[in-house]
């Protein structure tokens, strides 16, 4: 019972934060002629209620595709239609054909914000609550803390309730999908995920892990028996859900093709605006957009994306497990975000959702990633005058995570799941120790009068550059301890020393400094 009250309190807190953020400005407020995403959504309501279905995705005298033409799959259109019916009931001026362009008023803003809140409340929030309640092997307190942190994730709140979008619908459906397939309700899960894809085509970023996980399950059950039956059932579910959503558009071939053209605008270029992915970063040094022809850009991005997500997907197919599924979701979504074509900065939300799901397992890195992901959308948020809510929600999220997960205490290599990574780095890239040596010399030379460390004879080195104690950043921790112990990092004798095994003075130094390097690398 107490769990119910606490969970209700958490949900209400989440709703309060969402509502207060929604009191701020939205995308394109008071900026004619094009306005922004808010006007786009209003315009889609206008189009869907006033025009017949056949004209929704086509350019025409009543539907100018240059002015926020529909470029999401049919489910978004149906959702807009539903909202438009409600709008018509309240005030038809909001969705009158042509005359309602650029309509802005307090009442209309209230209506639009309310539609986002209701969609969130019906789809995303129950999924989060159910996900947290179904987590195994953790206490009630931790489940509720987990729900609090996920619900307070600033990126989604700021984009949906500030900038104005309906990401909570597609992410909510995707989360229902994750829930379904993780707990062996495969058909419902795949149905939910199909709805997610049919709401926003960007959910395709998550499609490969779903496919591989379900395929892996079928293989595990044996392709000659139950597995085959499952496969057929899944295929039928997917096909049926797609047909159901696209039915009005399957009547003519041209309809289907036009919708696909609107969903996948391949002639728009490798990226637009500022987005924190590889291509945009690379273009600082080399302007690939201008140098390479279009189809080469397409092929390069396809190759890189495919190659980067292949290992995780293959592993998932061979060894399907809910935990592996979550991590593969993170990995694939991140591959798509970093290397894919025409990625928008808001697509980081597609990576953030899976990261929220692994918050419990690697709290430190997940919290860090989620904070950075919100920061990466800052230019967009500043344009919408959302600086104050951004700062406040980011701090609130950080406090929630820090209080719930004690993130500064679980920073050893094992807890960060970085052990095998660190071992491989030290084994295959011994040159990595150069930079750490330089850094260590700098610190030692500048800050402390101590000589360079020699081995204390406590055996293998400790990788605890990021180890314990909440009141220190790793750098400080090392140096505070130095006063008492010349080799302060021999705190955990976990990892194997590297190639310098033979030299006792060498190997502690190297693992210390390489740990320091890895940590500084991650910090920056």
């Amino acid at each position: 019972m107490e769990k119910c009250y606490l969970m209700t309190a958490v949900v209400l807190l989440g709703l309060t934060v969402r509502w207060t953020v929604s009191l701020n400005s939205y995308s394109g407020a008071g900026k004619p002629p094009m306005f922004g995403d808010y006007e786009a959504q209003r315009h889609w309501q206008e189009i869907t209620i006033n025009l017949p279905i056949k004209q929704w995705y086509f350019n025409g005298s009543d539907n100018n595709l240059q002015y926020w033409g529909l470029d999401y799959p049919p489910l978004t259109a149906y959702h807009s239609l539903l909202c438009a019916y409600v709008a018509k009931f309240i005030n038809p001026d909001w969705i009158a054909l042509h005359t309602s362009r650029g309509y802005e008023s307090q009442a209309h803003k209230l209506f639009m914000r309310a539609t986002v809140l209701i969609a969130d409340l019906l789809i995303y929030i129950p999924a989060v609550v159910l996900y947290c309640c179904c987590l195994k092997e953790i206490s009630t307190k931790k489940k509720i803390a987990n729900a609090l942190c996920i619900l307070l994730y600033p990126g989604l709140i700021l984009i949906d309730y500030g900038h104005f979008q309906y990401n909570s619908v597609s992410l909510g459906f995707a989360l229902w999908g994750v829930l379904g397939v993780s707990y062996d309700w495969d058909l419902l899960g795949s149905l939910a995920f199909c709805l997610a894809i049919n709401y926003k085509q960007m959910e395709l970023y998550h499609s490969l892990p779903f496919f591989c996980f379900l395929l892996g399950k079928c293989f595990k059950k044996g392709l000659k028996g139950k597995g085959f039956v499952l496969l057929i059932k899944l295929a039928c579910t997917v096909v049926a859900s797609f047909i159901l959503c696209w039915l009005p558009f399957f009547t003519e071939r041209e309809q289907t093709l036009q919708v696909l053209r609107r969903l996948f605008p391949v002639d728009r270029g490798l990226f637009e605006d500022k987005v924190a992915n590889i291509w945009c970063t690379f273009s600082v040094f080399l302007k690939i957009r201008d140098i390479l022809p279009h189809h080469i850009q397409l092929m390069i991005s396809f190759c890189f994306t495919f190659l980067s997500l292949l290992p995780a997907c293959i592993k998932l197919t061979l060894h399907p497990s809910p935990r592996g599924f979550r991590f593969t979701l993170v990995s694939c979504a991140l591959s798509f975000f970093l290397f894919s074509f025409q990625v928008h900065e808001k697509s980081i939300l597609l990576v953030s959702l899976p990261v929220c799901l692994v918050l419990r397992e690697i709290p430190f890195m997940s919290t860090w990633f989620l904070l950075v992901s919100t920061f990466s959308m800052l230019p967009l948020l500043l344009k919408d005058e959302l600086l104050m809510p951004s700062v406040v929600t980011v701090i609130a999220f950080f406090i929630a995570c820090a209080t719930s997960f004690s993130i500064f205490e679980k920073t050893s290599e094992e807890e960060l799941q970085l052990k095998s990574f660190s071992i491989s780095v030290r084994k295959y890239f011994p040159c990595f120790t150069f930079l750490p040596r330089i850094i260590q010399h700098l610190y030692v030379g500048l800050l402390l009068p101590w000589p360079l460390p020699r081995s204390t004879g406590s055996g293998s080195a400790g990788p605890a550059a990021m180890a314990h104690g909440p009141s220190r950043s790793a750098a400080c921790g090392i140096f505070l301890d130095r006063g008492m112990n010349p080799c302060p990092l021999h705190q955990q004798a976990d990892s194997q020393p590297l190639c310098h095994q033979g030299s006792p003075e060498g190997h502690s130094f190297d693992s210390e400094t390489s740990n320091l390097f890895i940590f500084i690398f991650i910090i920056t």
Partner: protein, 460 residues
């Protein structure tokens, strides 16, 4: 950021709660603000631009200075920070001036002065006996009290949306209560005297302070059966208390006494011409009285007992601030309300005098004084319910019976604050959420405290 995480991650839930509610207050910056915003801007302008002799005479704006001098000095201090935000707000002629910087400054000043409230809550938590608490954080009385006080929705609505400075004033009151609990009576008396000169609404609870300090501090010992021992009276203590009150009052009213402006100051502080009920009515006895009067007059008109031409046109319920005559029932004068209030507080005062139960008894008396004054006072604001709700939180974590009363009081009290936000429904929605949050939290916490206290014998 790391330091922040450390403070909260190290198990310091109090900091997390305080920081969390401060962040929520920051999110409430763009919400609706009432005319009280203009009131305070006007006072910043008056205190900054005009000499002291003009403060209580200035009437360019309809929102004249009607708080005691310490509050005026507080606004004066704030105005020196305000000039770095926006010089224009300090111009007395700039009526209804509300630039974004003005809004930011005013909102941040409320958030910043709430630090005193946070400190007071911290001190109150020290007065709570947490030894019988369970191991769960949510069952610890200190945690429950901190949540009930720091996240009090009434205070959030009134201070951070409607716009007022009740946070630090309530902080002063809670701090003085905490000092009395800690047996630091002189400090408690001093803090209360200062508080009275910040906002004279705290006169509602002055009888409780007066009687308690006289009975339990000036009389240093009791007879074994608890009744008064007359020969233990300490003149020294009485004189020192009197001196404290006198010095504080001298500091506050001294300048105005010297300028011969005391009558003007008092007429501003106690505007009896404002009418029995405030514009949006406190839900007190007189509201019911007026409603009954209205019903009777309607019935009377229907049954032709009353002559329509003799009935005054102005309606009690129209939201106007003015004096009013009742139609059927006898009209109420300020003296009548005073007498009713005194009669209502008499039982609790008697109990405090004849059977003092230490600080807890004082707290009960204080709450009863606040509630009686709310119920029968002249021109009571609905915000005055906070005077009763906040101290009641302290009692509610002590006994299950008090907790159930608190639940009813806080729910109805906060609900009665809703009319303060009469603009777009979006604000009401925020309210609904906030009220539900506070109700569910209060319910949840009460439930856990009931479980807790059912395990131990219920004593006072």
């Amino acid at each position: 950021m790391a330091a922040l995480g450390v403070a909260t991650g190290g198990g310091n839930w109090f900091s997390a709660l305080a920081l969390g509610v401060t962040l929520l207050k920051c999110l409430l910056i763009p919400t609706y603000h009432s005319t009280d915003f203009e009131v305070h801007r006007n006072w910043l302008a008056i205190t900054h631009s005009l000499p002291i002799s003009q403060w209580y005479y200035e009437a360019t704006s309809e929102w004249t200075l009607d708080y005691p001098p310490f509050f005026a000095w507080f606004e004066y201090a704030l105005s020196h920070v305000a000039k770095y935000f926006d010089q224009e707000m300090l111009n007395v002629r700039n009526l209804n001036y509300c630039s974004s910087r003005t809004l930011l400054f005013q909102r941040f000043s409320v958030i910043f002065t709430d630090t005193l409230f946070v400190y007071a809550v911290h001190e109150c938590c020290k007065c709570i006996d947490g030894k019988k608490a369970g191991r769960e954080l949510t069952e610890k009385p200190k945690f429950i009290l901190s949540v009930l006080l720091l996240w009090n929705f009434g205070l959030l609505i009134v201070d951070h949306i409607h716009f007022q400075y009740n946070g630090f004033l309530s902080g002063l009151m809670l701090l003085s209560i905490a000092r009395l609990f800690q047996k630091r009576h002189m400090e408690g008396a001093f803090l209360f005297a200062v508080l009275l000169h910040f906002k004279h609404i705290y006169l509602y609870v002055a009888p409780a302070y007066g009687v308690y300090l006289l009975r339990s501090y000036c009389f240093t010992a009791n007879k074994p059966d608890g009744s008064i021992r007359w020969n233990s009276f300490s003149f020294l203590r009485l004189i020192s208390l009197g001196l404290i009150v006198f010095l504080v009052s001298a500091l506050s009213l001294g300048p105005f006494l010297a300028l011969n402006q005391l009558p003007q100051v008092f007429s501003r502080l106690f505007p009896f011409k404002r009418g029995l009920c405030h514009a949006y009515w406190a839900p007190n006895f007189w509201a019911l009285y007026s409603a009954l009067d209205k019903v009777l007059s309607v019935i009377g008109l229907e049954l032709k007992f009353l002559d329509p031409s003799k009935i005054p046109k102005a309606s009690m319920t129209s939201g106007l601030v003015q004096q009013f005559q009742h139609t059927v029932l006898p009209s109420v004068t300020p003296l009548a309300t005073l007498i009713c209030t005194l009669i209502a507080i008499l039982p609790s005062i008697f109990c405090l005098w004849f059977k003092p139960q230490g600080p807890r008894g004082f707290l009960r008396c204080l709450i009863l004084c606040a509630l009686s004054s709310f119920m029968f006072g002249w021109h009571v604001h609905e915000k005055a319910i906070l005077l009763a709700v906040l101290p009641m939180s302290l009692l509610s974590v002590g006994k299950a019976g008090d907790a159930s009363i608190f639940l009813i009081l806080t729910t109805t009290g906060h609900y009665s604050l809703f009319p303060l936000l009469f603009t777009a429904p979006e604000k009401k929605n925020l309210f609904l959420i906030g009220w539900k949050l506070s109700t569910s939290l209060a319910w949840g916490l009460w439930k856990s405290s009931v479980n807790l206290y059912s395990l131990s014998p219920l004593g006072s």
